[in-house]
Symmetry: C2
């Protein structure tokens, strides 16, 4: 079946580009001598995770415990949950999951870690944890100077073993140029590596120094002392990565096929993909644009739930019923809206990619 | 089970408030002598649709054919697809669905309608359609002055019957006051009713004059000549409706329970609900706020995929592990992220509400 004959809206993955993206990042990590533990939140798909593992990934990163459970059900068995996971319910689920998978879990507070420690020590088990260090995103994590104090607190809790440190330099997305993005990546790696040295000097056995994010990955992996990297978006890329200069349009593997449902005026075409297909996220650094037509004929300037309003490029004309292909602003939440992606090769439908962990926010 | 013991994030529906919202809108419609055909895109839930039908709704409105198919599978049999539905695939699916449900479908162009006409006339069947009239949203639909010409075009197509007119005055969401919103509603009803009269004067049998949207519903239903109304959000309401003055906080039936995962600084708490739980939509007219804590202790000022950053209100303090309750900005796309909502009454879990048509964007 020709991909243009798919009923719309359809989320389409170019399998050749996906495979190239997977291979390219694996090669960068291999050359740097860094383990790749890709973030599966981007694709949430067992089939894509399998490609990553087959290309040498050391395991998967996930954001939520529920994602790890879904991937464990699909046969994967080595997870880093890069999230401060707290509470009794989560601790008991972690304990159950640890029976069938190797787990490492993020922590950024003694209060949060204590419940995990209680549940694991009561079961006479030990959970590997990593301290989240904030290197400038101002989201979760302790500052680099506070990591040692938290490490000492964790050492007093039975049932936990401090395995490493991790950070996510998401602030790179606010930078306007590839050079600035690269500088964030270097700083990310250097700060975390220094932090690890300080803990080692205090007697802690810090095994992994884990950095992450697609824009900063290449630079951060080049820093001595970094042992692991967790990029996610690189498998598909998106309009934000292109705008950042992180990749070219030809490296974008995921697009949304849509149909022009209405051409109410010469300056407006409306496609059958709105926020329930594309999310309401704009391209970072280009807040008036919610997706790009890949043929350059227009951009999405307004979305409602099931309508995407295209502003045509000069001289572009649209007709009702024609297909258009959209490069989304941010691919990760787009995938999470859909139960299934369609894998294509050379314009022909090859396979369905189930979104194994779709909606697993708990 | 106490609702506060639910694992988080959890989307919680207060069943008493939901029932009151359903009854209140049904009463307004009954008093106005207008048929209510609520928009099911808000809840996408067979259980909620059943409440609406039991309260007297004349059928369901949906945005996409796939939603109608999902509700038909759940036993419903009367749909208005308020969307310019185009293309061979959709036409064939409409024909199949028409075997088991009464259908009315939106059209706003002859090109779009022609395929539907061909498929239905080839099967010796007739499809009821309504012309979408644009009364100021500038999305889909023909202008009021162009409706007559489109009606004449449709009359030349076999297989279609022009059943009515419809509009959606979504521009009300841009208005800063209840009075201005009400004025949009009056204008919506009056413009569409006048348009219907013009078509009737030309010999068309315009059965339904259908308006919609929660903010404009009450005012638009009061206009003579309006026969049907299609509000959706009213069943749950949300922070945008409260900001518009359309409802009070005590009429909001859907909230998201979340857990404080991290308190990295006195001016910041981070909860386990981000854009994959709440979407990235801000409150309309308050673009720096992505949700409100219902107890007034803070607001969500930044979301990433699984993190919600709360800015505490003056003197508010948060601790890791505590539960918070969030009123979302816009409820419709929130529901579409989740497979199941949890119905509660008096703080206790009563039922699960399956999101029957989740993700049905085709």
């Amino acid at each position: 079946m020709n991909e243009l004959d798919l009923d719309t809206p359809a989320v389409v993955v170019d399998m050749a580009r996906l495979e190239q993206n997977v291979a390219r990042m694996a090669a960068v990590a291999g050359k740097a001598g860094v383990r790749l533990r890709p973030h599966a939140k981007t694709h949430k798909s067992a089939a894509v995770a399998r490609l990553q593992i087959d290309a040498g990934a050391a395991g998967l990163t996930v954001a939520k415990l529920g994602e790890a459970e879904a991937f464990a059900d699909a046969g994967f068995d080595d997870f880093f949950i890069a999230y401060p996971t707290v509470g009794q319910d989560k601790a008991r689920r972690l304990l159950a999951l640890s029976e069938r998978a190797r787990l490492i879990v993020g922590v950024d507070s003694e209060e949060g870690a204590r419940t995990l420690a209680e549940v694991f020590s009561a079961a006479d088990r030990r959970l590997d944890v990593r301290i989240e260090v904030d290197v400038g995103l101002n989201r979760t994590g302790v500052g680099p100077d506070a990591a040692l104090a938290l490490a000492r607190s964790l050492a007093r809790l039975p049932g936990l073993r401090l395995q490493g440190l991790f950070t996510h330099a998401g602030q790179a997305y606010a930078e306007p140029s590839p050079d600035r993005v690269a500088a964030v990546g270097r700083s990310e790696g250097e700060t975390l590596a220094r932090c690890a040295e300080a803990l080692r000097a205090d007697g802690f056995d810090i095994e992994d120094v884990s950095v992450g994010s697609t824009p900063t990955a290449v630079e951060a992996m080049s820093v001595a002392g970094v042992t692991e990297c967790r990029p996610g978006t690189y498998v598909f890329n998106d309009a934000t990565q292109v705008a950042l200069g992180v990749c070219g349009p030809e490296q974008c593997a995921l697009t949304v096929l849509a149909t022009v449902a209405s051409v109410p005026a010469p300056d407006r075409a409306v496609v059958d993909a709105g926020t329930k297909t594309l999310t309401s996220e704009a391209i970072r650094s280009r807040t008036d644009t919610f997706g790009l037509l890949t043929d350059g004929r227009g951009r999405l300037v307004r979305l409602t739930e099931e309508h995407g309003v295209v502003e045509p490029s000069p001289n572009a004309r649209f007709r009702v019923g024609e297909r258009v292909r959209i490069l989304p602003s941010h691919v990760c939440p787009v995938v999470n809206l859909h139960d299934r992606l369609t894998g294509v090769r050379d314009g022909h439908v090859e396979c369905a990619l189930d979104v194994t962990a779709r909606g697993r926010v708990r």
